[in-house]
Amino acid sequence: MSIAKGLATLAAGAVFGFGLALSGMIRPEVVLSFLQLQDLGLALVMGGGVVVTLLAYKLLPRLLQKPLLGGTFGMHPSDWNRDTLRGAALFGVGWGLTGVCPGPAIAGLGAGNFTLLWAVLGIALGALAQGWMADR
């Protein structure tokens, strides 16, 4: 990975993380208040995020032949099968239990919420178990 790409990736992550913090998504209580229908904020966060992403994914490949630092424009791999269904259903259960999903679990650490290390550990172990089972 070139230094320029590394720095651009770091910067993009920082804008993402700043957004997660600003929107309150790094607070599990705010996410749970959405899921318990007390505050619709999360829908605005997701809506805002999707609109910007949609514009970028649609327009950039038309305006540019390749990304500014080289390479090719990728695509989110998306299949619908039993694993996607079961995985998404399980993911929702874990998310609903805690109000914590992968991005905010990581970003929350930057705002000093070190209790979220338990969630980071849990997600990492869950990903480990999934990969381990996939090999069997």
Binding site: F18, V50, V52, T53, L54, L97, A119, L128
Partner: protein, 160 residues
């Protein structure tokens, strides 16, 4: 009653920071795409990072090994961005949560397992998948929203 409340006061804490925060999240994903062409979901880093330590075939797949460096950089950026927000608006008080550690561990495990099995989380399917108009991602989002909604409401009944 909750349904009545939410119709009258959909955003008890205000709505601007939600929208601005969401636009920033999208801008982060867009910048990553603009500079590198990469698709910036967040759950893959939890699989790809294991490839540094584990020799098992699953973790040595090219898609994990080849992306493990930038995914870690992206995750590090996430922490830095949240730190910047905290220095600006945190008021010197670290963020905290009342969700107990064991629930974070157990719920995290289920969410991590599910996100990797289903190839995406709230950012992978929710932001990147919907942002590329993929119907499987839309179905995944509907699925995890439904189970999360059910779970969160049952947990309040049982625990609180």
């Amino acid at each position: 009653m909750a349904v009545m409340d939410i119709l009258q006061t959909p955003f008890p804490l205000g709505w601007q920071h939600y929208l601005l925060g969401g636009l920033c999240v999208g801008a982060g994903v867009a910048l990553l795409f603009l500079f590198t062409g990469r698709i910036g979901g967040m759950s893959s880093v939890f699989s790809s990072t294991w490839s540094f330590a584990l020799r098992r075939p699953f973790f040595q797949q090219a898609r994990l090994v080849d992306s493990r460096g930038w995914r870690l950089a992206y995750a590090l950026g996430l922490i830095g961005g949240a730190l910047a927000w905290w220095l600006w608006r945190g008021g010197g008080v670290p963020e905290s949560t009342d969700v107990p550690w064991w629930l974070l561990l157990v719920g995290g495990f289920i969410a991590g397992y599910g996100a990797r099995l289903g190839h995406g989380c709230t950012s992978g399917h929710g932001i990147c998948g919907l942002g590329s108009l993929q119907w499987p991602s839309a179905l995944a989002v509907l699925t995890f929203m439904a189970t999360a909604f059910l779970t969160a409401n049952l947990v309040t009944r049982w625990i609180a």
